[in-house]
């Protein structure tokens, strides 16, 4: 998964920061304060949108946010370090199991009920957590790819608003084909596309624009994703709005900072083309 992300983050994308360091601290101090909350998904939607807009226009802040995302992920990976010994697990299980049950019924029952409640809450939260974690990780990778595209000086490899140019460009580059939506009479324009990677598998990244916002639409083969497509319709990742669905063995993901309605509109158009 990482390899794909790395490929999408060319070194040249962050060079301007070094040169513009002074400008950045002068102009972007206000924004820099909000970057952490933005990347932690803790900004209210309106502010998140404003930061997203700024990131698109400011290479220095976009590169800074990329580096912070990388640090977040490095700490996440490094922090998951210690695994308990099975013997220790058994000991704990034994220690919280009710003792001398028959003699101390009054003590026994609430303790058992407590333990049961803990186990049930635990099982449910573990399951939900695992599911959510897998999904969040996938969305987080895609959000990185999206930010990388925004930060890149060459966001797309095939620049064209014509779907009949963009679609054939992918032929031979990715192991599947897809249809692009008819965008006439819609507020969206096609900016172009490029080959993207997830789990070392190639897929398509299409960039659409609506007003000043960019939307990335990722298409990957279902079999390329470890957990299959997101089971539930994805809603958000780190304050980006996201949508996902599958069709004909392909997984579609949309990610952007636009309003949810815009994302839904484009999703309908893409689905119809499907």
């Amino acid at each position: 998964m990482d390899r794909a992300g790395e490929q999408q983050v060319p070194h040249r994308a962050w060079r301007p920061v070094r040169n513009d360091n002074e400008v950045r601290t002068m102009v972007c101090e206000n924004w820099a304060d909000k970057l952490d909350a933005y990347l932690d998904g803790e900004l209210p939607p309106a502010e998140a949108r404003a930061v997203g807009e700024h990131l698109r226009s400011c290479g220095a802040c976009a590169a800074e946010s990329l580096s912070r995302v990388q640090q977040k992920r490095a700490v996440q990976a490094a922090g998951q370090r210690f695994t308990p010994d099975p013997a220790f697990r058994a000991r704990i299980q034994k220690s919280i199991a009710p003792r001398r049950a028959s003699r101390w019924k009054v003590v026994w029952f609430p303790a058992l009920a407590g333990a049961m409640a803990l186990v049930i809450v635990g099982a449910i939260s573990l399951h939900l957590n695992r599911e959510r974690r897998g999904e969040q990780q996938l969305l987080s990778e895609l959000a990185d790819l999206h930010v990388a595209t925004l930060a890149s000086s060459n966001p797309v490899d095939v620049v064209s608003t014509d779907r009949h140019t963009v679609k054939p460009w992918f032929a031979g580059k990715i192991p599947f084909t897809f249809n692009l939506p008819e965008l006439q009479d819609s507020p969206f324009t096609l900016v172009g596309g490029k080959v993207s990677y997830l789990n070392q598998s190639p897929g398509a990244e299409l960039i659409f624009r609506v007003r000043q916002h960019q939307i990335s639409v990722f298409i990957f083969q279902e079999q390329a994703l470890a957990n299959g497509c997101a089971r539930k319709n994805a809603q958000s990742a780190r304050s980006f709005s996201a949508r996902s669905w599958s069709h004909n063995g392909l997984c579609y993901f949309m990610i952007s900072d636009v309003a949810a309605q815009d994302l839904d509109k484009l999703r309908e158009l893409v689905k119809r083309a499907g």
Binding site: R18, D40, Q70, A74, A78, I92, A115, L118, S125
Partner: protein, 162 residues
């Protein structure tokens, strides 16, 4: 057992010793069971149990030592100097895990715990605020300081490693 593995991981990071971490986790479950009636359904269970673990740690010998040895002004009102580093200099990839782990170990415990809760446990600011019993504003400023401190440490270590 809810959150068992993750609590253990967190306990190891706090105590920096596996045996102590085991004692800490065991005591946490014992306290949680005993005080289960004080848990209010509908409130955050995870924050509740992490809070028990952390409070138990803070009152332990290691915890008292770890927190009393910190002369750092963790929440001062001073304005943070602008970051001098460039993103290239902290190309933190997963391959650098060991370096990041060493840097985390060297951070003051207050920074270490807030980073772990945010990045590893993926807690929201609200959850962190409940767990650490500090206001949201403090969560944000402490996180920001912790991240900067980690960055600086990693850079220093990268520098000394050549």
């Amino acid at each position: 057992m809810p959150h068992f593995e993750r609590l253990y991981n967190f306990a190891c990071w706090l105590t920096q010793d596996r045996h102590e971490a085991e004692d800490l986790v065991q005591e946490t479950y014992a306290k949680a069971l005993k005080g289960f009636s004080s848990f209010q359904p509908g409130t955050n269970f995870r924050a509740w149990i992490y809070k028990i673990l952390r409070n138990t740690f803070l009152t332990s010998r290691t915890g008292l030592k770890a927190t009393s040895n910190v002369p750092l002004d963790l929440e001062g009102d001073d304005v943070l100097p602008p970051a001098k580093e460039t993103p290239e200099s902290i190309l933190l990839q997963r391959s650098d895990s060991q370096l990041v782990q060493q840097a985390l170990e060297r951070l003051p415990v207050a920074y270490r715990e807030v980073l772990l809760l945010c990045e590893v446990e993926e807690m929201s600011y609200q959850e962190i605020s409940t767990t650490l019993a500090i206001p949201m504003g403090t969560v944000m400023s402490r996180l920001s300081r912790a991240r900067r401190a980690l960055r600086t440490l990693v850079q220093e270590m990268q520098g000394s490693r050549g």
